[in-house]
């Protein structure tokens, strides 16, 4: 891997998501040789992926080169590669571009889409966990509209103009809202010869309400907003299959659609090689102690979505979202620094900053401890916080400009089919 040996202890971090980046950004200043590995050469701000899919933003607004994030350090190295396995006896990580030894290993590989073993759905559905997938989805949405406008077969047009999403967590809700925005404000001017009352958006959720991880207050408000925008919500319904453009469920509901998006769950993306019992079976996450050490190892850590730290408050681990990942990354900085100085580590404590979801123009819901609110102010808070957390002034500015422009002009400028969606198989390549 062409990385020199030095006297410094070597810290290898697998994954440049929220957790890995939070850790890497601060550790570059410490007395370690830092090696960051990722499949992509950029960090992705996943909460805004849906805006790439719905033509609001281009990738450069929500992605940031990983090399730029870590370049301030002299003893830091980035390698774009896929990790294949870990050999903890030899303290080695094996990758597609060779092996590397570690003194400290941090696994921050995040989560992948969870199809709960349904291979047909995995093969046929769209998903949105990374930038190439988000761009594929954008192209498919726009290509379907181009198809719909030329077809004279009313059944086929229905299929092309019907968008079905499985899973009404934040991703499903925000994406459904984004597509509804296109339907209401942007597309009718683009396609004056098409009747957009024919376009349908369906959001299917297994639980009894949308946004199940949020408060019932947020769920109710989000439902109301979505329904006002024309989104059909089907709760207490589980999608069982999607084949030949037909979505089947465990109820009477079945829908013909050319676009089926699976946002019904995520599961950890562990690496091969550690003891099998370190992975909690169904969650696919590493069991870690309060210092984020993986059970049975004292030099191997896991942070973010891939880590499952059982606490009294979170017996099933922290939610698989950005905040715990960032906080665990930052906390591990503190602990590694203490460890390097021979001091004992301190336990991680999650500070719940609340959760939020945007539904569309002027519409969002926020749970902030006891404060639960929705509507214009929530939407404003949502925007401010998302801008704040974007990496770098440039990304914040470009995003802010695009949002302002889109807001004033009821427009979404990036409706470009630059990634023609010929091959669904290609999309099935899941990337960490």
């Amino acid at each position: 891997m062409n990385i020199p040996y030095t006297n410094l202890p070597r810290l290898v971090i697998i994954g440049g998501g929220f957790a890995g980046v939070a850790l890497a950004r601060k550790m570059v200043k410490e007395n370690v040789q830092l090696v960051l590995l990722d499949r992509h050469n950029y960090h992705t701000f996943q909460p805004l992926l849906y805006q790439v899919s719905t033509s609001s933003l281009e990738p450069d607004s929500i992605a940031y080169p990983l090399r730029k994030i870590i370049k301030r350090g002299k003893n830091t190295y980035f390698r774009m590669t896929e990790v294949t396995s870990i050999d903890s006896n030899e303290k080695k990580v094996h990758t597609a571009i060779g092996s590397i030894t570690y003194d400290y290993l941090v696994i921050a590989t995040g989560a992948r889409t969870n199809f709960f073993g349904n291979e047909t759905i995995e093969k046929n559905s769209m998903r949105m966990k990374n930038l190439p997938q988000a761009l594929n989805l954008r192209s498919l949405l726009l290509e379907n509209l181009e198809q719909a406008v030329i077809t004279t077969d009313p059944e086929k047009r229905k299929e092309l103009l019907r968008f079905v999403l499985a899973g009404a967590g934040p991703t499903g809700v925000e994406l459904a809202g984004g597509i509804a925005e296109l339907q209401l404000n942007v597309l009718p001017r683009d396609y004056p010869d098409m009747d957009f009352s024919e376009m349908e958006i369906h959001l299917i959720e297994g639980a009894d309400r949308v946004l199940p991880p949020m408060s019932t207050n947020a769920s109710e408000k989000a439902s109301k907003f979505l329904e006002k925008m024309g989104v059909h919500i089907h709760t207490n319904t589980q999608v069982t299959n999607y084949e030949s453009n037909l979505v089947s469920t465990n109820t009477d509901l079945s829908l013909k659609t050319a676009t089926f998006i699976w946002s019904a769950g995520v599961t950890g993306a562990p690496v091969k090689g550690l003891n099998a019992d370190t992975i909690i079976p169904r969650a696919n996450r590493y069991k870690v102690n309060e210092y984020n050490q993986i059970e049975g190892y004292n030099d191997v850590y896991a942070i973010g979505d891939i880590a499952l730290m059982q606490t009294d408050e979170y017996p099933k681990g922290h939610p698989m979202v950005a905040q715990p990942a960032i906080q665990q990354g930052n906390h591990l900085v503190k602990n590694l620094k203490r460890h390097l100085k021979g001091k004992p580590m301190v336990p991680f404590k999650y500070f719940d900053k609340g959760s939020m979801a945007t539904i569309g123009r002027n519409k969002a819901v926020v749970d902030l401890g006891k404060f639960r609110f929705g509507g214009f102010f929530a939407w404003f808070v949502w925007m401010f916080i998302h801008l704040w957390f974007l990496v770098g002034f440039r990304n914040r500015f470009v995003t802010f400009f695009n949002w302002t422009y889109n807001y004033i002009n009821y427009d979404k400028a990036a409706r470009l089919i630059v990634r023609p969606f010929k091959n669904k198989e290609e999309n099935a390549i899941e990337r960490v």
Copy 2:
């Protein structure tokens, strides 16, 4: 194609490049039914494609949705499709999505990369005539650097860090300058563990100077600028082959490289079906009269790169660049309006507004009639004019912001590998 018949005469335009868009934008207000056909759903500002390839801009800065351009008209239709042939007896255009009759047909299909019959080069080289190709090139450049940093084989590293361009017209010069900018200002900070003195850029040109269509003054200045930035220029040299990473030429020069970019020429992209003798053989362009009517037809026009209008001043036709295309599009608006009113058409006259090329930071050359200048002021003029000609306030603003940001920070923010370049074949799909 699902377009209703009306009492209005139907004008079909094939191609949404500079010529087609100039025509369509104004004809939407006239008493015609306008049908615009293009393979892409966007107009591309081709002069800035090289900035997409070199990570300065994202597609949404230089592309504009065609539906947005024509949506002001009530009797206007856009269809994204590929035209397969023309039947002038039945006055029909055949496409991948069905046939359409026309009263007036305007062919504005532009140009494609010219490989002069060399199939090996066509198969193995990169090109940059549209957005997907420009994004492919960006990913390849960045992927090669990621490869170079891990290799311990000095020969292989040389190949990965050597970039060879054939053809020193404006595209070749601007792209070579853009890559040199990356080498000088951006990449060394990204790859502190790589020695960028090993990186080489070679620009190969068959003529005896770079920028052969411009003045000798511009050529000399451009050469000086390029050499100052470390670009190796080889004039009077023709590339004869590129195979197994080896560029061969008709001189002693041969170069091993993983990145070979072909910018050595363009040729017209005519449509099947019209009389064979309407196409000038080597140029592949339609022979048109002074009203842009294709020889032998009075209801079929050609404008832009695909049209070859022989005049005393331009016996081989106008240069295949944006200005003649825009002017012919605008002029045809005038003539079609006259024709619809029963007035005689007026001949086209090209007004040469000059030409220019940018080489890098603070460096450009401009030929403006008798005024020939280079350097900082030329660079300023180049920027201003390119911003001016971008479609829409938003694209201008985003481009302007990115340029300012990149200039101040010696940065190029879009260095994201979002289109991993796995398959060179895919890139070979030439699109009009």
